[in-house]
């Protein structure tokens, strides 16, 4: 399921006209061989002295796509974005926009705009003049500029603040001005560098949905760079996880979360328990793995490439594990342990269970708090059983 269709966001998206669910689900240009990409990175490499920030990277972005680039700091995601804006030159490879090589085009001649992490609002200009800055550079007539500025202010709900200076605005308002300024020129592609980093949590959530609305309303292509996985997963049609200058995995957020192809992605996006083990048998689509800590684990996986005896990792998301006091009936996919820690987070409770004895491994189990109750069913030092479905486990290559 695309997180965009999640019920939680519905009230905030009241103004969206048509039901977006069906449209969104069908929107997968990356799977369509006939689709023309808007942006193509072709074997792009960028080095800073001895550090390779971007390493022989290829990537295609499609029109109207909301693309998120996720990675830890220093993974090269900002460099990739800055190369697209024209502030950095690749050492090798080329960047195409609408099929045209723009590698050597200076930033002021690229139909790409960027919203800076610091917002970079001009402190000596009013809100209106900030938004008009790009339009003035195009030499548009005065009335058209005024009209567009008013339009933009209405779009980001800042009507009436045209005469204010940036230092007279709140953080959220400044972010909106930065957004309006970067959208004023109707760029083919909008780059957003950590757009929510300076906002508090509540504001961040509502702004995320507003940004998604804006993007679908204006029919623009967005590329957002972030280290915040919730942000990436909420907003993006497709996301890429980047590490050491390479794209580790690219796909829709649900695919990244539910079917990570590497241990790095599995651990970077969301919480996960990793069990070490060896492949014991492969029968049809059921893989049986002998793990040191949790005994035999059976997984429903495409397993053609696995060899008997091969060392692999099994990944288990905390919310896919069931916790019980009594031993479950199933034969495999269960392990006994002792509760070491309980973290109550309101909407759910994260329980840490020690399996395999006192020197074993701590496994995280997420319990959704679906009913109001003050009495908790589990307590510290309880002896409990963990169990999970055959579909829950992930095979991760070492």
């Amino acid at each position: 399921m695309n997180p965009r269709d999640a019920g939680a966001g519905a009230p905030l998206r009241g103004k969206r006209k048509a039901s977006p669910g069906s449209v969104r689900r069908a929107f997968q240009p990356w799977n369509d061989p006939a689709a023309e990409p808007l942006v193509v990175f072709r074997n792009v490499t960028k080095r800073f002295d001895t550090v390779t920030a971007v390493d022989n990277l290829s990537l295609a972005l499609y029109p109207r796509e909301f693309f998120a680039l996720l990675g830890a700091s220093g993974c090269g995601k900002t460099t990739l974005m800055r190369m697209l804006a024209g502030f950095e030159q690749p050492d090798a490879g080329e960047i195409l926009l609408d099929g045209v090589d723009i590698t050597a085009v200076p930033p002021h001649r690229r139909p790409i705009n960027m919203m800076f992490q610091s917002y970079a609002l001009f402190p000596h200009l009013s809100v209106g003049d900030n938004i008009a800055y790009g339009l003035r550079r195009e030499g548009l007539p005065r009335e058209r500029i005024a009209r567009r500025v008013a339009e933009m202010l209405a779009l980001v709900k800042l009507d009436g603040l045209e005469k204010r200076r940036p230092d007279q605005l709140s953080g959220g308002q400044r972010q909106r001005v930065a957004l309006a300024r970067s959208l004023a020129k109707r760029p083919k592609l909008l780059l957003l560098d950590e757009p929510m980093a300076a906002l508090d949590r509540k504001l961040r959530e509502s702004t995320q949905f507003e940004l998604m609305d804006l993007q679908s309303e204006l029919g623009l292509t967005f590329m957002v760079v972030t280290h915040d996985q919730d942000e990436a997963m909420t907003m993006a049609d497709r996301m890429a996880v980047m590490n050491h200058g390479r794209l580790v995995q690219i796909g829709p957020p649900d695919e990244i979360y539910e079917a990570p192809t590497s241990r790095y992605v599995a651990e970077f996006v969301g919480d996960i328990n990793i069990l070490e083990g060896r492949v014991a048998s492969v029968a049809g689509e059921i893989v049986r793995v002998e793990t040191a800590m949790a005994g035999a684990v059976e997984l429903d996986e495409e397993a053609a490439s696995l060899a008997i005896g091969e060392a692999i990792f099994v990944g288990l998301r905390p919310e896919k594990i069931t916790l019980s006091h009594d031993e479950p009936a199933q034969v495999v996919n269960k392990v006994a342990g002792e509760i070491w820690d309980i973290g109550y987070l309101g909407d759910f409770t994260m329980v840490q269970v020690m399996v395999g004895g006192d020197d074993g491994q701590l496994l995280k189990v997420a319990l959704a708090n679906r009913t109001r109750r003050i009495e908790r069913p589990f307590a510290w030092e309880d002896r409990v059983w963990l169990s999970w479905d055959v579909e829950a486990g992930l095979v991760l290559p070492p």
Binding site: G86, P107, H108, I112, N113, M114, F122, Y133, G134, R137
Partner: protein, 262 residues
């Protein structure tokens, strides 16, 4: 705030007295009615009137002002460009040498600067006068202008310039519409500093000037050699006033700039 003890206050008063009493005495005696410099003969603005009739002194003052204006403008433009190069282009080849050469005149003894420029002008067979002094002043005040502008650029958010480029501004337009409006207090302060440096200078001007181009400090100095007259006191008072005004304006500008930049 910590209060100063009586000993420290005494030291402070003595220090300031040593610095400013002679100047105050000079200002006071410029209003002396007596012709004798050291005898008080009552209050009078007579010498200011006489000053207005002193053609050579007025000519020298006008020359000094024009000279300071041109050399300060040249020094500010070049100093700002040097500061931009130093602040913007990272560790380019020869950066240390460049910065050292720009800033060397700050610590170079004026006699040496003056003498070497004189040698240059003589060997190049340039006729000495207004323009040679202007070039000399621009050369030595360039370093001061550069330092003032560079300190402002050090705290400058580069993403502002990138944002301008991103929105379609060429590098030149970016400089005029974003960079300069944000650093102009420092540029103005640099200009004022260069202006007063040129107005005050005696040594370098003496070396590099030629016939017909006598600056105000040179005129005053030669007049004093024949004996101090109350007229000279009046001229000096006006000069002190002018310089103080410009320096105070420059420091206010820089202070405002720092507050805005913080």
């Amino acid at each position: 705030m910590k209060r100063l003890g009586p000993g420290l206050i005494m030291a402070l008063v003595a220090g300031f007295a040593f610095l400013y009493l002679p100047i105050l005495a000079l200002i006071a005696y410029s209003f002396n009615a007596s012709r004798l410099v050291t005898v008080w003969g009552g209050f009078s603005t007579h010498w200011y009137g006489a000053l207005m009739a002193n053609e050579p002194l007025l000519d020298a003052a006008w020359l000094s002002i024009r000279l300071a204006f041109v050399s300060a403008t040249a020094a500010t433009v070049l100093g700002t460009l040097a500061a931009l190069a130093l602040a913007r282009h990272g560790a380019f080849r020869g950066r240390t040498l460049f910065s050292g050469m720009v800033l060397a005149p700050l610590v170079m003894p004026e006699v040496i600067t003056g003498l070497s420029l004189l040698l240059l002008f003589v060997s190049a067979q340039v006729e000495r006068g207004f323009w040679t002094v202007t070039i000399a002043h621009a050369t030595f005040s360039l370093g001061f202008a550069c330092i003032v502008v560079q300190s402002r650029l050090a705290g400058f958010d580069r993403s502002l310039e990138e944002a301008a480029r991103d929105l379609g501004a060429t590098p030149v337009i970016t400089f005029w519409t974003v960079t300069l409006p944000l650093i102009w207090p420092a540029v103005a302060a640099a200009w004022m500093l260069a202006f007063t440096l040129s107005l005050d200078d005696l040594v370098i001007a003496s070396f590099t000037t030629g016939p017909g181009a006598t600056t105000l400090p040179m005129r005053l100095y030669s007049a004093v050699r024949l004996g101090v007259s109350p007229e000279i006191n009046a001229a000096c008072t006006i000069m002190i006033g002018a310089v103080a005004l410009v320096v105070i304006a420059a420091s206010l500008l820089l202070k405002r700039d720092q507050l805005a930049g913080a």
